[in-house]
């Protein structure tokens, strides 16, 4: 039984403006959840709160293993990850970018080499592995971001508009990667998109965010 995620009455406001109010949800483990809603309705904020990058003003994010809640510590943070909309590519080689998460976990060099090579192969960037990551196109950078996350084999992965402002070819590659993540790695996926067709293709569950609240789609 993997990691499961529940939100309990999450509320968040910025500068006095309420973005999220009493959002509660139980995400089903191993399924992909697509979160939709107009711009500025708090989708990214909700994702950042779920990924423990921000704290809610009220309410709780509960991660459970075997039905027991886990402390929100570094051990837990290392079992989940978030693909940021801007990726945040490090100014180093493609290989070092993907190896980053493994290096900080103290994984040995040989294992890192094997895992990074396999992941770069999966996202179609293996030929670029010695190149400077900042020279990649926007679509390739998104794939790099996914590779950086995938190599860590997260149990829950949050994707904030993974195909925004990239071409059709890259979008298709990324959608394939996301489908594989779910099918092969059994990861729970929670993603934000503005594309209803994509939501249809990738989502097992659709969630809508409206007036600061979560609704089933």
């Amino acid at each position: 039984m993997g990691l499961s995620l529940e939100l309990a009455q999450i509320s968040k406001a910025y500068n006095g403006q309420v973005i999220l109010r009493d959002c509660s949800w139980v995400f089903e483990t191993g399924l992909s959840h697509v979160l939709m809603g107009p711009n500025g309705t708090g989708k990214s904020t909700l994702l950042r709160i779920c990924a423990l990058l921000e704290a809610p003003d009220r309410g709780r994010v509960n991660y459970l293993a075997d039905g027991r809640p886990l402390p929100l510590d570094l051990d837990l943070k290392r079992r989940i990850t978030l693909l940021l909309p801007g990726v945040g590519v490090f100014n180093t080689s493609v290989f070092n970018n993907v190896a980053y998460g493994l290096k900080i976990r103290g994984i040995n060099r040989k294992e890192i080499q094997a895992k990074v090579d396999a992941t770069l192969e999966a996202v179609g960037l293996v030929e670029k592995k010695r190149q400077r990551a900042l020279d990649l196109s926007t679509g390739q950078s998104k794939r790099l971001g996914l590779a950086r996350a995938m190599v860590l084999e997260p149990e829950v992965i949050f994707l904030d508009e993974p195909t925004a402002s990239i071409d059709q070819a890259n979008t298709e590659i990324i959608e394939d990667i996301i489908m594989n993540l779910k099918a092969e790695k059994k990861a729970t996926i929670i993603m934000v998109t503005h594309d209803p067709a994509q939501a249809e293709r990738l989502g097992d569950r659709l969630l809508l965010i409206k007036d600061g609240k979560l609704w089933p789609g």
Binding site: A51, K77, T81, L84, G86, G88, F90, N91, I104, L134
Partner: protein
């Protein structure tokens, strides 16, 4: 005019013959400045990083003091270090006055604010998404800070080079606390001052040429690093 030409001619002879006295002066200059820069980096980089990454109380005041320190007049630093290290001063017991150690302290005081301030600026200017990316990939707070510092490496190196440029060209402070003792505390800048006073231009011009060459190299390195930071060309890939 003849004196100048003769001076240049003798200077070139000294340089091409690798005159032992000349080499000794250059070597000591480089040792003193390198030691001061190393200490400035050891102390200034962590402080710059701390000021950039943590919300410390009095941060604005500390930064103002450090930025003021960037323009410290070397003679004032010389006077201050002299008073500290003189026999009746609080650190007089260390007997450092008129030693290379005193010169290193003076140069450290001059270079520390430059390293700290430029490191702080470089780290503050790293895109906040880098820190978030480190967080979501599982970095602990120290790993997160090191990742941001690594992204600022060009700016930090630029700060180091700017500090090196300042201390190698400096004369006022080192002459006051080093005493310009032949074979012991005599460095390039202080020798130029002394030999010019004595009307002995050969050695002064030879050292002047070398000092200018060194300044040129420092400036080329400075501009190259700035360009690398801006365009990312010829990137230094960390491992």
């Amino acid at each position: 005019m003849d004196t100048i030409l003769q001076g240049f001619s003798s200077a070139f002879k000294l340089i091409t013959a690798l005159d032992p006295e000349l080499l000794k002066i250059i070597w000591l200059s480089l040792q003193v400045s390198a030691a001061a820069l190393l200490l400035a980096l050891i102390l200034g980089l962590p402080l710059g990083a701390l000021l950039a990454l943590k919300r410390l109380p009095l941060r604005g005041l500390i930064l103002s003091v450090i930025n003021t320190g960037m323009g410290l007049p070397p003679v004032v630093v010389g006077l201050f270090v002299y008073l500290l290290l003189s026999r009746s001063g609080p650190l007089g017991f260390m007997e450092l006055l008129y030693t290379p150690g005193a010169m290193i302290i003076a140069q450290l005081i001059l270079s520390f604010p430059i390293v700290t301030s430029l490191s702080h600026t470089a780290i503050v200017n790293v895109n906040p998404i880098i820190r978030q990316a480190a967080q979501v990939l599982g970095a602990n707070p120290l790993q997160e800070a090191l990742t941001v510092i690594r992204e600022a490496r060009y700016g930090i190196m630029t700060g180091g080079i700017a500090a090196l440029g300042r201390v190698t060209a400096e004369v006022g402070a080192v002459i006051m606390v080093g005493g310009n003792i032949a074979g012991y505390t005599r460095v390039m800048t202080t020798t130029i001052a002394l030999e010019t006073d004595k009307g002995n231009f050969d050695l002064a011009i030879a050292l002047g040429i070398i000092l200018l060459g060194l300044s040129l190299m420092i400036n080329v390195a400075f501009r190259t690093l700035q360009k690398m930071g801006r365009t990312g060309s010829g990137v230094i890939l960390w491992d």
